[in-house]
Symmetry: C2
């Protein structure tokens, strides 16, 4: 039998597909849904649905709710819902001045949330990730105390990350070529956990995509010490050729302007980053100039402001709109909507946890094989 770290033994492709179909049908339903309704929605037979539901219930992915009191004729159906006691995602975040971890169950509810405020730069990557490892271990223990099974972890980092989780550079942390999953797994309680790493603005944008009812194309801009963006086009996160899209903090606003940490001059970050935002008028104008370029290039109709920008929207909004009105060529034809991030400072960490939860929802067969193999 394979151990928990090897690739899961796949069930037949058809069964895996149908398990995901049933789980996602329940997940999408706003209310508990009967086996018969799942059969009707998916086009699978009732017998097939029942067998698949039994597996999902046994694996703690679905729960069967007691029928409501009889109010009329007919037999009340038992309702299926996502289980709040089965697999969970561990969302981690590291930033210049804090560490954070959260546990999200399969229903999307955040069950635990731990934050430690401290400057993460002095000790370097190893110390910061050891600290985060300790926080993550505490979060995992809290999850297990709730009888949740942490299926994996995802880490949000303010930097350029490769597909296999190597942080190439995180300028504001002072990191270069950091193997973040390996350093996190140095914490014994995390040694067996699948860990993915992604850019914080990308993960925050994924959170906002779940929260966003309206436009499926938007740019999420996160103001921290650095400024990052997550680009969602037609409902999908656009990561870029190498996964390094959204480096909006280094868009040139004033070509002969202030020197930036990155070596260039006049980057947006020097005018609208957390350390410059005391000059609100300057920050708003610089953001407006850069965002006008984004709108001209991408024709998105919505910009979501997160991080330190969210609470400042009443002050920044008119300044940004003034630049958009002048510089976005479509301003006279169609407005650009500015809104504050729905999830505040937790967006990236929640997006990280959500990535794990969605991976279970996308492939429950893999999770079931894994949890069987490891005796969970």
């Amino acid at each position: 039998m394979p151990g928990p770290l090897t690739a899961p033994v796949r069930q037949s492709g058809v069964r895996a597909h149908n398990l995901a179909l049933v789980l996602q049908t329940v997940a999408k339903s706003p209310n508990p849904i009967s086996r018969a309704s799942v059969a009707g929605t998916t086009g699978l037979t009732r017998a097939t649905v029942s067998a698949l539901v039994d597996d999902l219930v046994a694996g703690s992915l679905l729960t069967e709710l007691a029928p409501p009191p009889r109010t009329g004729a007919g037999r009340p159906a038992v309702g299926l819902a996502l289980a709040p006691y089965g697999p969970a995602g561990l969302g981690l975040e590291i930033n210049v001045d804090y560490l954070a971890a959260c546990v999200m169950d399969l229903t999307g509810a955040v069950r635990h949330r731990l934050v430690e405020h401290a400057d993460q730069r002095p000790g370097g990557a190893a110390a910061a990730l050891a600290g985060l490892g300790a926080l993550a271990a505490r979060a995992r223990a809290l999850a297990e105390h709730d009888e949740l099974t942490v299926a994996g972890a995802a880490l949000a980092v303010p930097g350029l990350v490769t597909a296999d989780g190597l942080v190439r550079v995180a300028p504001n942390l002072g990191w270069q070529e950091v193997d973040a999953p390996a350093l996190l797994r140095a914490t014994p309680a995390l040694a067996d956990l699948p860990i993915t790493v992604d850019n914080e603005a990308n993960l925050a944008a994924l959170s906002e995509l779940r929260a966003e009812g309206g436009s499926p194309s938007f740019v999420f801009v996160s103001g921290e010490i650095g400024i990052g963006a997550g680009i969602v086009l037609d409902g999908t996160l656009y990561r870029g050729v190498r996964g390094w899209s959204g480096e909006i903090g280094h868009i040139t606003v004033y070509p002969d302007g202030r020197a930036c940490r990155c070596g260039a001059r006049g980057c947006l970050e020097q005018y609208a980053g957390q350390e410059a935002i005391g000059d609100l008028a300057g920050a708003g104008a610089a953001l407006g100039i850069a965002l006008s370029g984004v709108v001209n290039l991408l024709d998105v109709d919505t910009i979501v402001l997160g991080g330190v920008y969210a609470p400042l929207l009443p002050a920044l909004g008119p300044l940004i709109h003034a630049e958009l009105a002048q510089r976005a060529i479509t301003a006279g034809l169609a407005p650009t909507r500015l809104r504050a991030a729905a999830l505040g400072a937790d967006a990236a960490m929640r997006g990280a946890a959500d990535l794990v939860v969605r991976s279970v929802q996308d492939d429950p067969a893999a999770y079931l094989s894994l949890s069987r193999a490891s005796g969970l």
Copy 2:
């Protein structure tokens, strides 16, 4: 029976799907391909393939080439190829200083190409589109003389176009709210033709996508009187929420710089448009600053320079690379490739014709119904 301008009567969905599958299998094959090979590739039975091929041959979409001389044992197979005498696309382009039309057959070959140089601004939209209508009528007559059937026309315009072909604004032509399809159909020879309209940089980018062997994510930048861009992400043209992406000419380069026709200050167009490009150093620096922003935002690894930029690449390239090296945050990790457009000034017109040709390849059943209904 519906006339040629109404929606085609669809064959059964399955037959329509399989007709497209067979046609595209032949289109993708670098050499003539036998019916048996088509069956093998598609998974359809030989009998089904033969019936579908017969329809495609009868409709002049496919042609059967004579077998090559026998060189060994076995029965030589008849080879299927796209027919060079069946449906064709009419590609049209209007720009500030020229009109152009071309005829592309189903194999992608440009069979006729007509260009008229003249300032299109003085007479306004009606005069310009009447002139283009006359050019298009000549091109259609040449196509019919070759026994080609023009299946539709597409028009490339340097402006913001809605999904139904209305030109909202084309600043350098001085157009606002121009119903281009209606004005083109005022030419009697075009009255029966389906006409679509799209932004010229989008259509040129589609041409370059067909020509581009390497990266499926690139930004095509077209330098004319105005500057437009077509954005191709993961092999697909990204049009934007309202179809207005790629307005790179109005990205701010110098916030307090020269006044632009659009009402803003410091737009790229004022430093690197055709009328400013005499100052090559200034044009290259401005392009480099704007393109650094594009790379920071989108993480594309390739930028394709078209229009007047293509022949100037030897002079502009080093200037652009100097800015990218300083301002693109990923410059030290991964280079950005600059290349000249493969198709030169014809890219937008060819992309327009290609759009029609691809629409026939994507839905041959609709074309066959149409041509039967109109007695072609």
